[in-house]
Amino acid sequence: MAAQDLESTTGSQRLDKDTRETFVKIGRHAVLLLWSFVVLFPLYWLASMSLKPPGEANSLPPDWIFLPTVYNYIQLLQNGDFIAAFANSVIMVGVSVILVLLIGVPAAYVLSRYDIPMERDVLVWILSSRMLPPIAVVIPFFVIFQKLNLFDTRIGMVLMYISINLSLVVWVMKAFFDGIPETLEEAARVDGATRFQGFRKVVLPAAKPGIISVAIISFIFAWIELLFGLVLTSFKAVPVTLYVYSFIGSRSIEWGMLAAASTAMIVPVIIFLIAVNKYLAAGLSFGVVIKE
């Protein structure tokens, strides 16, 4: 190709590329902003319902501008039961997330790295634990919980939360471990690390985005869980979800309180998300580390 050929091709490519690049950029931002709107609008509406004075929650045309009142939140804060259940949930869910990671992540590692007999069947079996609708298993669980004295205990609820998340953790983490080259562990073992140390010091940090993402999801799954909390507790271990619904009465719905409680329930999730946000982004580039 002669130089002028290049010139013309790159010239046109340049045009192409410039337009395409801007196009892509604008398109990307448009999509992200659009989705942000789609996500934000109901959330905004929820929050605004919680901040509107009584009677304005559903008024149309909407009061876009209104004097926000924290009345509902004050009510919520003064509701000792709500606060207690909130704290209870934070503890139970928090502990369950830690435990489910402690149980699930090592198992996922083994499933990823070792030759397990009937590996596929084991994996499907694990997955089968989330195939039945909770509705269909809640009664058996109720029966066992009664027998084992786990009914209405925090330990019981933590166990339940573990059980709803374990399959997720195992599967997703296995996938992430599969993506981490074994060379890293080889290096660790040569460096004198035991298999466990290799796992803990080298593999785990490399799997951080995966761990964080399953932690987030597990947290949320447990946090919004309703059915097991409903059936398997009565006083001591009641999760906050049940309280949110207590604003849906027999012949009236307290929109403001419902919205406030629902909003309040999102807050710990946001806090959790912000706390782990930076780890979620911490992608590793194995490519610069091993030649392959």
Partner: protein, 444 residues
């Protein structure tokens, strides 16, 4: 509207050791009774309750009961749907956690499964019951009837705590504007709805429950069909009567009313949508729904508080007024550990002193006792209109009979009605299908 602290929580409200002077109701009101109140001192009962105003109304009086009997009361309060799940799990596995629980449309289902414990044994126990003091005749017939398995049992299945009855609601300012009269008949009602629907841009003629569910659309339709002179199960369990002319006419009327003058998507509206629509002044009427909406429509949640009016439900020309009514009863199960204590509680809670206090001093608006509705203090407290319309309706009220498979076939029946409201099939076809399904369920 919603009273008291949400949810269950903790144990009783008894602060313990408070002198009777602090109590909401003087103990003397109960001590006249020839009942051994203290026989279960130190026990504890567990109440499974729905998130219902009754709970908030009675809660301040619980210390009275605790003081009176020495029994601790523990609450377990849940939203309706969640409560049903929990109650069913509890009784079906024989766990017997609840000594007292709210009972509704499933009464005969539970009775048939042998989960419910008839109360007659306790009524007959003189240390537990004193008829002269309790005055069972003061209870509305409708609620007593429901407490006997809705006509399917001759034994007490529970004791009534609340009753609500259907009434209609309308907006006075619209009526004034368009020169309308309060409708007494279906025809009038339809015309009123038409006038409003066609002359107002942002306001629909009427709103009514369209959502399926045994407490939803058919709760309204059942009234209308009874007014047409027919009833559910013309011949139980062989002929459901749902394909009779009266039912079909009622269904056609209700369906076309909602389709023509109801909101878009009326077929999916539940009581909360209906209420919200009215609260926002987006509808001229509510055709027939719980009188208990009154509170929600007149409090500060409502933008129509000063113009909304209550009236009895319309009836067909020549038909009878017999609005649907619904009673929450409280029952105890076979496996409950403290049934006697539970009975003491039920009786105390539904007794005249307690009920009167709940309505006069607390937030009750749903008394099962006629005497309360006639009480002037109460009438002036809740408003003459509300009290009078409710009372008259209650006297005429005819609740639904909840046979043991009502939940199952009722669900299918309401599905069919919902389809008709949604315009997916004609009302007649829907009702015929519903009849078939209902009968199949009993024969299959």
């Amino acid at each position: 509207t919603r009273g008291g602290a949400g949810g269950d929580g903790g144990s009783s409200n008894s602060s313990g050791g408070g002198s009777s002077g602090d109590l909401a109701i003087p103990l003397s009101k109960y001590q006249d009774a020839n009942i051994d109140w203290k026989q279960f001192e130190g026990d504890k009962i567990n109440i499974g309750a729905v998130q219902h105003p009754w709970v908030s109304a009675i809660k301040p009086a619980i210390p009275v009961f605790e003081e009176l009997t020495g029994i601790d009361v523990v609450w377990n309060i849940l939203p309706e749907q969640q409560f049903r799940t929990k109650r069913q799990t509890d009784v079906s596995t024989g766990a017997g956690q609840f000594d007292v629980f709210f009972m509704d449309q499933v009464v005969n289902q539970f009775r048939h499964e042998g989960w419910l414990q008839p109360l007659d044994k306790y009524f007959n126990d003189s240390s537990l019951y004193d008829e002269g003091w309790y005055k069972p005749d003061d209870l509305f017939e409708a609620s007593k009837w429901q407490c006997h398995g809705g006509g399917y049992s001759d034994k007490w299945t529970g004791m009534p705590i609340t009753i609500e009855v259907q009434t209609q609601f309308y907006l006075q300012d619209l009526y004034d504007k368009h020169g309308l009269e309060v409708a007494e008949t279906w025809k009038q009602f339809r015309e009123n709805a038409k006038t409003i629907h066609e002359n107002e841009s942002d306001i629909v003629g009427t709103a009514g429950r369209g959502q399926k569910g045994y407490g939803m659309n058919i709760y309204i339709l059942n009234t209308l069909l009874r007014q047409k002179g027919t009833k559910l199960w013309t011949d139980f369990p062989n002929d459901s009567g749902l394909d009779s002319q009266g039912v079909i006419e009622a269904a056609e009327w209700y369906t076309s009313l909602l389709q023509d003058y109801g909101p878009e998507g009326a077929s999916t509206q539940t009581w909360s949508d209906v209420q919200a629509t009215m609260q926002e002044g987006r509808t001229g009427h509510i055709v027939a729904d719980a009188n208990m909406f009154w509170g929600g429509l007149t409090n500060d949640e409502s933008s129509v508080a000063d113009t909304v009016q209550i009236a009895k439900v319309p009836k067909p020309e020549g038909g009878e007024l017999n609005p649907n009514a619904f009673t929450w009863q409280i029952s105890t199960s076979k496996n409950a550990k403290n049934s006697e204590q539970a009975f003491l509680f039920m009786m105390w809670a539904t007794s005249q002193p307690t009920d009167t206090w709940m309505h006069l001093e607390s937030s009750g608006v749903f008394s099962v006792r006629q005497s309360v509705w006639e009480n002037d203090e109460y009438r002036s407290k809740v408003g003459e209109d509300y009290a009078q319309v409710s009372l008259e309706s209650l006297k005429e009220a005819a609740p639904d009979p909840f046979d043991r498979k009502y939940p199952e076939w009722g669900q299918r029946y309401s599905e069919e009605l919902q389809r008709a409201i949604a315009g997916q099939k004609p009302a007649e076809a829907a009702m015929k299908q519903a009849a078939k399904v209902a009968e199949d369920i009993y024969s299959g």
